[in-house]
């Protein structure tokens, strides 16, 4: 993923988009959108990988929802270009209306039709997905990795079973939306969005309207989607926790502009002061469990640039895991301390030092090609005489397993 100044954007397997959308400063009559703050301008130009989960991350008012609505065609950008895996959805001469875009959309708050049961809501999507699969479009894209080829009535039944099972909603199908909890409603809404057989799934803060317990309830289903879906997912969130757990790629937005974009690991390690995550500054690494130490209840996982020791919480050898290392939990030393209680001590090289707020400094490190960020006091930076290129030992006080 890169800003589309590069030429590789013509690739079939990308979502290329450019939107310019301004809301007039004086409240004109055009106030239908949620984010239609007067004076707000969205100006983005991006190329997003055509697979995996890409998170649009930003604080409220950053334009992430407006961007998602532009992609869905719910918002009509004055200037826009949108090419999804080789198909033009919008450019100077084209504007596919929302109902002609093969996408699924999960709204932030409950969006089930109140006059239909959960099953009625699912059927609403299936009926229309079926209608479209008869046309030349949409025949290719069995978006579930394990579902059959193409669509026909038998597969449709299988697909319904598979998706209701995936989201754990089989027992809820006869209920009306008002008889469901917030989390259950959102799971039905996700199932409905999948049953339309989309080639792109858009999710607008699907967890934001839920309390913590409900979030925990849905998260495993979202992780299952991540494993099972072959279509790209664009996921809007203001929670770095959700992003760290789910996303493969990250687009950070601020005041309608992209401030960072790229693979999750690299982008989170950016010490750009505009991407201010405060206490949540840190990196996410993927690793493979290679050894379980039964005696000490520890697991050794390789992240590509070395080994990490983690508390064994029922891990299995060969399992892929995601770990998060907060900048606050990383300290630096010039020599390797063998007499430390810290389990994970990695050799690293200083690549960049940025001053943070209140006397703090963010030190970006390279661990055999993997980025790590440490938050130190400026005094420590001066005391250790840290400079770009200097070899150090990174001491990881805590490595959090996030899935």
């Amino acid at each position: 993923m890169s800003h589309s100044t590069e030429e590789q954007n013509k690739s079939e397997n990308n979502i290329d988009l450019r939107f310019l959308l301004s809301y007039l400063a004086q409240g004109s009559g055009k106030g239908t959108s949620d984010n239609g703050t007067p004076g707000f301008t969205l100006d983005v130009d991006l190329s997003i990988p055509g697979q995996g989960i890409t998170a649009f991350f930003g604080h409220s008012g950053s334009g992430k929802t407006t961007l998602l609505r532009c992609i869905a065609g719910l918002e009509h950008a004055q200037q826009g270009r949108l090419i999804v895996n080789g198909e033009t959805w919008q450019d100077d001469n084209t504007f596919l209306p929302t109902h002609q875009r093969p996408l699924g959309y999960v709204f932030q708050e409950a969006s089930l039709f109140p006059h239909l049961t959960a099953m009625g809501n699912l059927k609403y999507a299936m009926k229309r997905a079926h209608r479209h699969s008869l046309g030349p479009e949409g025949r290719h894209s069995p978006h579930l990795r394990h579902s059959g080829e193409g669509r026909n009535p038998q597969n449709e039944g299988n697909q319904l079973d598979h998706i209701t099972h995936l989201l754990g909603i089989q027992h809820l199908l006869t209920r009306h939306p008002h008889q469901l909890s917030g989390g259950e409603r959102q799971r039905v809404a996700i199932a409905r969005a999948l049953l339309i057989n989309p080639r792109l799934l858009l999710m607008d803060e699907p967890l934001a309207s839920l309390d913590l317990a409900r979030k925990q309830e849905i998260m495993p289903y979202l992780e299952a989607l991540h494993r099972e879906l072959s279509i790209p997912i664009l996921y809007v969130s203001h929670s770095i926790d959700e992003v760290a757990r789910l996303a493969d790629h990250l687009v950070a937005l601020d005041q309608g502009k992209v401030i960072a974009a790229g693979p999750l690991g690299e982008t989170l390690a950016s010490v750009d002061s505009r991407l201010d995550l405060g206490e949540e500054t840190g990196v996410v690494w993927e690793a493979t469990v290679e050894e379980i130490d039964r005696q000490w209840h520890l697991a050794r996982a390789n992240f590509g640039g070395g080994d990490l020791w983690l508390r064994d919480s029922g891990l299995e050898v060969g399992q892929r895991i995601r770990v998060r290392i907060l900048a606050n939990d990383v300290s630096l030393a010039l020599e390797r301390h063998e007499d430390s209680s810290i389990l994970n001590i990695l050799p690293a090289t200083v690549t960049e030092i940025a001053s943070g707020t209140e006397g703090a400094a963010l030190v970006k490190l390279d661990v055999k090609g993997f980025a790590l960020v440490a938050k130190l006091t400026r005094r420590s930076v001066a005391h250790l005489d840290l400079l770009g290129g200097k070899p150090v030992w990174g001491q990881l006080k805590s490595v959090a397993l996030i899935n």
Partner: protein, 234 residues
Amino acid sequence: MGLSAADLSAIWLTVKLASVTTVLLLIIGTPIAWWLARSNRWWKGPVSAIVAMPLVLPPTVLGFYLLMAMGPNGPFGQMTQAIGIGLLPFTFWGLVVGSIFYSMPFVVQPLQNAMEAMGQRPLEVAATLRAGPWDRFFSVVVPLAKPGFITASILGFAHTVGEFGVVLMIGGNIPDETRVASVAIYDHVEALDYANAHGLSAVLLVFSFAVLAALYSFNRNRRSTNLNYGVNPS
């Protein structure tokens, strides 16, 4: 206090007029309500005012202008003559046209309120589920605005039954053609035939009470069909 054959005929004519008017008004009023609920253009104000005007105008004024328009020299009258259906004043269909104008706000406003209460979101959801504009209207708007449609039908019907001034202006008093119940009552009173006036009046009184009682109990648990004629609280 039995009803005479003429009175029964007047009641039948009233029911027929109200039914035809209500059906036509639902067909005409739905797009108008939809447009008023969705649009933000400057002419929304004037159009709303035109729709609501029968609420404040004396029916005689409305009837007078309709009579002029539908008469031999009026634009509408010339049109109806040109297409070969003759002149509408003093016919049943002339009353239907008058009633459509007269009862328009009672149909459009409940529909508009229901459509506004529904908001934009269900339509956006339907669009992301590949429903085109007509599909969205019939699969989402109609079911969600159903209480509005019921209210609109009841009010449109009941208000047409209660019509008097407009009928007198453009319909006159022709038995079996334009003599509806309200006009028949007026006739009885003019003729000092209070017994028959009582009978017919009682029928209308009971009818009105029954309709409104049914409507308000239906509306008690609904929030999307407020009967705030013309004035939107939002």
